[in-house]
């Protein structure tokens, strides 16, 4: 369970990026977070993998408050959360196989596990053929699928997808959304932020709408309404 308890975040000066947000996300949910640019969607997600910490309030992952975790526990938290971004964030000097294997290696998995799981997960996202290519040799859609494979390979409890389709054409967008739905069907909690109306409507699950850092709508079977 993820729980945001009256969370407010100020960056240096200015208005709050998110303000007094209370939000509960149950295991296995698929939550789409929508809102204009600057509405606080990304800040909300970043708090989950401890890239930013709330100025007021607290974020809980399970029973633990994230701000209270030790360095070691933070690493474990990050390893139990898969992340996908609009700009893919692959390691440019590593090939597809190594990019995915890296996430397993830092989690301390054995070489045997890595050799077995990496080809399997790449097969799942349809990239078996490109295993030895470098990110710059792939299309945007393919790079995003590598990022998804990397996020999935450790079988995380939660998958965070921050604008994953922002750089993709409609066909690739459709593929990525289908993969996310499949992952959710297998029991992984998925948090998705997006600008894309058709993506949200296609998913057809819970939709949280943010405006100027506040939650203005939270619908169980939502549509994209702004």
């Amino acid at each position: 369970m993820i729980y945001y308890d009256k969370v407010t975040k100020f960056y240096n000066g200015g208005r709050a990026a998110v303000e007094d947000i209370t939000l509960q996300i149950e295991p296995g949910e698929f939550v789409s977070i929508v809102g204009h640019s600057g509405a606080g969607k990304t800040t909300l997600l970043k708090m989950l993998f401890a890239e930013v910490f709330p100025t007021e309030g607290a974020v809980y992952f399970g029973s633990r408050e994230i701000a209270g975790l030790s360095d070691k526990e933070l690493l474990e938290l990050r390893r139990s959360i898969g992340t996908i971004f609009q700009d893919f964030r692959l390691l440019p000097t590593k090939n597809v196989y190594e990019n995915v294997a890296f996430a397993m290696e830092v989690s301390g998995r054995t070489d045997e596990d890595i050799q077995a799981d990496v080809p399997h997960v790449l097969d799942l996202v349809g990239l078996s053929e490109k295993m030895w290519n470098f990110p710059k040799e792939l299309s945007g859609g393919e790079q995003q699928r590598v990022a998804i494979a990397r996020a999935l390979v450790n079988q995380p409890d939660v998958l965070i997808a921050d604008e994953p389709t922002g750089n993709l054409d409609p066909i690739n967008t459709h593929d990525v959304v289908e993969i996310l739905k499949k992952i959710n069907d297998l029991g992984t909690t998925v948090l998705l932020t997006t600008h894309n109306k058709s993506v949200v409507d296609n998913v057809g699950r819970r939709v949280v709408t943010l405006e100027l850092g506040r939650v203005v709508r939270d619908d169980k079977q939502g549509k994209y309404i702004l």
């Binding site: 993998f49 990050r78 390893r79 692959l90 390691l91 000097t93 890296f102 990397r150």
Partner: protein, 313 residues
């Protein structure tokens, strides 16, 4: 996870990163080679100055000249007395006959002098003793001892002790060498420091280009050493390769250096006969250890500090 597995993975990624970032590695190696080259210069020129100073001080001795009528017994008594001094290393005796033979040998091309010598009925040269002290600073005592001896019966046969005129010249020469050595080293140290800073900055820039990558590593939960390790390994590799590059380059440079700058016999008189190529060959192991250690240390430290900037908890 066992630390052996981590070490293995970190080392592998360090090596892979070094190879795949070929151009960055090339410029880092280039800059570090310049640093190590300057460092080698410091080491070799210091050794050269030391050697020259040593050769000069070795030339210092005290010569005791005896009157022509001094008996061999008198000379031998003084020799024994000198040898009994704790400061004295060697006393070399030159008899009157030897002195004459050496004089003739030195002037064999000077017919006039030889003819003049032949006119004399007696050998005009007296016997002499050459005294070498164990340390340069002890000559003063030896000279004082000899002065005191001149009052004694055996000592009355001494006609001249040449310590003082040699001393002034040698003191001045040592001073010149010592000053130029200090100046030289100061300049070298400034150069070494500036190339050190350039190397450090080159590595920082290399890592700056990888800052997004470091961010991604943090994001997927890589521990500090998982992120930092490969960069430190790459830094160590820059050092090792630079050390090898410099040692290989030094071979032809030192071999042809005397020819290139036109060193000849006259400069050898002034600067002593220091052979930097021979020094390089004799001290190859030492140079290898020093350059590799400095290179590795510099590379690893630069990488360590540069990555620290982009690591967050």
């Amino acid at each position: 996870m066992s630390s052996w597995v981590t070490t293995k993975r970190v080392a592998r990624y360090g090596l892979i990163g070094f190879i795949r970032n070929g151009f960055v590695s090339f410029s880092a190696v280039l800059m570090m080679s310049v640093t190590l080259f300057v460092l080698t210069n410091v080491i070799i020129s210091d050794a050269a100055m030391n050697e020259t100073l040593r050769q000069l001080t070795e030339k210092v001795d005290v010569n005791v000249y005896f009157a022509t009528n001094a008996s061999e017994e008198q000379v031998m008594n003084i020799k024994k007395a000198l040898e009994a001094l704790p400061e004295v290393a060697i006393v070399t005796y030159t008899s009157r006959e030897q002195a004459l033979t050496e004089f003739r040998e030195r002037h064999k091309n000077d017919q006039l002098t030889l003819q003049a010598l032949d006119q004399l009925t007696d050998n005009p040269l007296g016997a002499s003793l050459a005294v070498q002290a164990k340390q340069t600073s002890q000559y003063e005592n030896v000279a004082k001892f000899l002065e005191a001896q001149q009052a004694s019966q055996d000592g009355s046969a001494i006609s001249k002790v040449n310590y003082h005129q040699n001393k002034t010249a040698i003191d001045r020469l040592s001073e010149i060498i010592d000053t130029s050595r200090k100046n030289g080293i100061a300049k070298e140290i400034v150069m070494a420091l500036s190339s050190l800073l350039i190397t450090f900055n080159t590595i920082r820039l290399a890592i700056y280009t990888s800052r997004d990558e470091i961010g991604v590593m943090n994001l997927v939960g890589a521990g500090r050493w998982y992120v930092r390790g490969p960069f430190v390994i790459a830094g160590v590799l820059y050092g090792v390769i630079s050390a090898i590059v410099v040692l290989v380059l030094l071979y032809p440079v030192l071999l042809f250096y005397p020819v290139l700058v036109g060193l000849d016999a006259s400069s050898e008189v002034l600067f002593g006969s220091f052979d930097s190529f021979a020094y390089y060959v004799d001290n190859f192991a030492l140079l290898f250890v020093v350059l590799t250690a400095v290179g590795m240390g510099l590379g690893a430290l630069s990488s360590y500090l540069a990555v620290r900037r982009y690591l967050r908890s």
